[in-house]
Symmetry: C2
């Protein structure tokens, strides 16, 4: 990215053209007046295609995520904030302190420049809130009909918190399963925002930075594992953990927080909220003797008020089993051909 904000001002009521991707003046102005201006930070002030981060103490954690959400804006967020939260959250659940992001933007010809600017501003705010800086970037423009308006990829670098030891191999029968809030909000919200179903509501995406939640939990040495349940939702995360650990995961259905509008929409459309994406929740496996204290710690945070203990790790088996209030049991299978595309 470029050094500084110079040159004539872009007309932001114009649209992205192929010339904004050709390496020349239009591209330079786009980068200077939108990306560099809003993502401005001391480290971005360089003149090369690569960024020197200096020496970093501690173990380095590296994570990447692509974002193709449709629509680009939805109640509670947009692709800009989502792209920051997604990668920052992956670092946080690994027990890392997120530090730096890179950004790759693939922009479709015809995107309104003012809309692009709004997503960049949203990204800048989310980064500031999460305590990360976006230090290097790249933009490409693809012809009309070859993109979805805007695709983003963020890659994050974090530093492992010392003394935090997380891993599937630490999970044992009897451990408790915690979730930091209601599940399926983001997936349901994005579905509704597409207006494809003629349904509207005041449901908001849960898209958020979960660093404060993870920070609370890493104070407990009984914390075994964390993950953010994005694509495929809570059921998919637990299914993966069950498969890798070899243990079954037992859930109490009535303990799992699901918002009423999410439940209603899912019942109408035949979706299961346990398989729908969250973008600001955390699932944690915690030793039973510390789970009550860990729950209290989560509930003291604004984003953790609806946190709950939703089940426990069972014996060998590798299944995810949902127990209903009436005593029935249902196996939550791995998600198959049930796509809800471009949810994140």
């Amino acid at each position: 990215m470029q050094l500084s904000v110079t040159g004539i001002h872009m007309n932001k009521d114009q649209y992205i053209t192929l010339a904004h991707g050709n390496g020349g003046r239009f591209m330079r102005e786009l980068i200077e007046q939108l990306f560099a201006r809003h993502l401005h930070n001391p480290l971005l002030d360089v003149q090369t295609d690569a960024m020197n981060l200096g020496k970093m103490d501690g173990e380095i954690i590296f994570s990447v995520d692509g974002f193709t959400v449709q629509p680009l804006e939805f109640p509670g967020g947009d692709i800009g904030s989502l792209a920051v939260h997604g990668t920052v959250n992956d670092l946080a659940v690994s027990g890392a302190i997120p530090r730096y992001l890179s950004l790759s933007a693939i922009i479709e010809e015809g995107l309104l420049i003012r809309d692009l600017e709004r997503y960049i501003i949203s990204m800048a705010r989310a980064a500031e809130n999460a305590g990360v800086v976006i230090v290097t970037g790249d933009t490409k423009v693809v012809p009309r009909g070859h993109g979805g308006g805007l695709y983003l990829t963020t890659t994050g670098i974090g530093i492992k918190k010392s003394g935090v030891n997380l891993g599937i191999q630490r999970i044992q029968p009897g451990d408790h399963i915690l979730v930091s809030g209601s599940v399926g909000d983001h997936g349901t919200c994005v579905m509704l925002a597409r207006e494809a179903f003629g349904l509207r509501g005041d449901l908001q995406s849960d898209s958020a930075c979960i660093v404060p939640l993870a920070d609370q939990l890493t104070e407990f040495d009984g914390l075994k594992f964390m993950r953010d349940p994005t694509r495929g939702g809570l059921a998919t995360v637990l299914h993966e953990l069950a498969g890798l650990s070899g243990y079954s995961f037992m859930l109490q259905e009535e303990q799992i927080p699901v918002q009423d509008p999410v439940r209603t929409v899912c019942e109408m459309l035949g979706y299961d909220p346990l398989y729908l994406a969250c973008e600001g929740r955390l699932v944690a496996i915690v030793a039973a003797e510390q789970s009550a204290a860990a729950l209290t710690a989560l509930q003291q945070l604004e984003d953790g008020q609806r946190a709950a203990i939703i089940g426990e790790v069972g014996q060998q088996g590798g299944d995810v089993i949902l127990r209903t209030a009436l005593g029935g049991e249902r196996i939550l299978d791995e998600l198959e051909d049930d796509p809800l595309p471009r949810i994140c």
Copy 2:
């Protein structure tokens, strides 16, 4: 990415569907049987969305590039190898030793799985050749008509070579400008591969890893600056350097290596090879007293046989000036509305 290669074998004569992006079984199989299988390395064997790289000594260099080249395959390369070379080369010209890459793949519904596998194999070979490992990744699938087959983003981490001090502020009048080989090959080759002009030829893209070239040059303390002339070509790189340094950059037209087929195609279609992308070349600014030795060092490498000293840094001015063999002068302006989209 997932742990291991398991489960039933995919039918690679099938096409990517939206279910390959939903977080469930089809996505897991795609990742296990294509990405993890071919990009396999010890570090990829983890069970989280983030990778622990351990402690790293030295200054950390971070760089990102998106790749949207069309067509996905062209003589001399494909989007897979290009995506490795692009980011590795950005690290190399910063004076770093490339170490790790992350990969984000945005795949369009309808891509033949066998084609996708070919690009991944190409990427694996390019990474091995460049001495980097692809340690973490993410895949998304977008609906038919919302992508270009495949878009890739790679983000690289390198370690700054100690004792190498590069920067625009070191450039002085009298420094020599070197290029490691012929310019415009990649841009011309991709244009021809589109078959839009009814022209065919045996021209190959120059897409390659320039780490060995950069390694040679960093032995010289008179090396001031390096850059790879990708989008916008040689002229755009020099225009940026001229603007940032304040000096004019004087080029001798007949010294700039341009392959005959590139010259011929550009003359027919009205392109200037100095503005067309290279993907395996290096431009260097070297103190005059060391430029002959630096040139010899480049020419000893297979990819540097056509290296040349193409001009020198002039006095204050900030222009890029092309001197012809007949003594004429032409200012190479900043590229404006002359897009050749999806060249990289």
